[in-house]
Amino acid sequence: MPPIVTPPEIERRHKVHESDNGSGRRPPTDKRTGGNGEGDSDNWNDRPQGRRGPRERLSQVRMGVFFGLFAVLMFFIAIVSAFFVTRASGHFDAYSKYVNEWLPTTIPSILWLNTAVLILSSASAEMARRSMFREEDVMDEWIGLSRRTSQRATAWLTLTLALGALFLAGQWVAWDQLAAQHVFFKSNPSSHFFYLITVAHAVHLFVGVGALIAALIGLRRSHQIASRQIFVDATVWYWHAMGLLWLFLFALLEFGQ
């Protein structure tokens, strides 16, 4: 994992000291330079919770994303559990014979291509995330010498967005191919689960596409580098989770029927 560097935002003093009329009569009372040996106020960890700087903000947002993803994971695990039970279940017909109606759905081969596209998109998203935390570039950007981190991240995120859109288009083609074979949502318990799983995942990925667009807007509009890092980091973690989830769901559909 690369070193994570997040420079602190400087608290600028807007207020002039009460007794200072601006004529330069008195020296400033706040002489802290922020350098070493200036007392314990330089250590972010000694500050009260909620005021420990950008690193704390990043951690809090990450925690929020992770706990949100836990809920998404449980939702999909519930669907997968129902998949296993339905696959094994059946009913007794008029002759008291136990009938299992499950007919495996032939998975369109385009899903293999879609999976490769999603893996590539995850790789490009990770490049965007890493570029936001590259030490030298972050320092340059913080000082105001360049906006290299944001520019690189924008390029990688745009690529991720394009690949994500390509994946969704590929999923649409897969549903179209199945419909051409007269395999619909209600055709069979197996096709029912195929549509349920792929559509639910596509909806979640669509939310990810929205998050990518929001992150791209944030990269252009936000003035704080810490906020830009948070936008990209949170979006990329969500994207990775959707990629991993798809690998699991795809393996289930391809080999678990």
């Binding site: 992770f66 994971l73 449980m74």
Partner: protein, 79 residues
């Protein structure tokens, strides 16, 4: 000295918890007996379906437990 006794108390408390859980786990009451209707339903369910239910229970329970542990570790790390 005070710290040592505190550590000992924490350790004893931990073992007491583990012991209690173990005793609860091996108690006859912890194994589901079920009512007669449930028992009839279970007997009428084919073994393959029973196995599928079992698999689903393990999957849901395992994931829930794993997420609980992961969440607890995350919170502990961040504090």
């Amino acid at each position: 000295m005070k710290r040592q006794s505190q550590n000992l108390r924490v350790s004893l408390l931990r073992w007491a918890w583990l012991g209690s859980l173990l005793l609860l786990g091996i108690a006859a009451q912890s194994f589901g007996q079920g009512c007669s209707q449930c028992l009839d339903n279970t007997r009428a369910t084919p073994p393959a379906v029973q196995a599928a239910y079992r698999k689903a229970i393990y999957l849901l329970g395992g994931t829930g437990a794993a997420l609980f542990v992961a969440g607890t570790l995350l919170i502990r790390r961040e504090r």
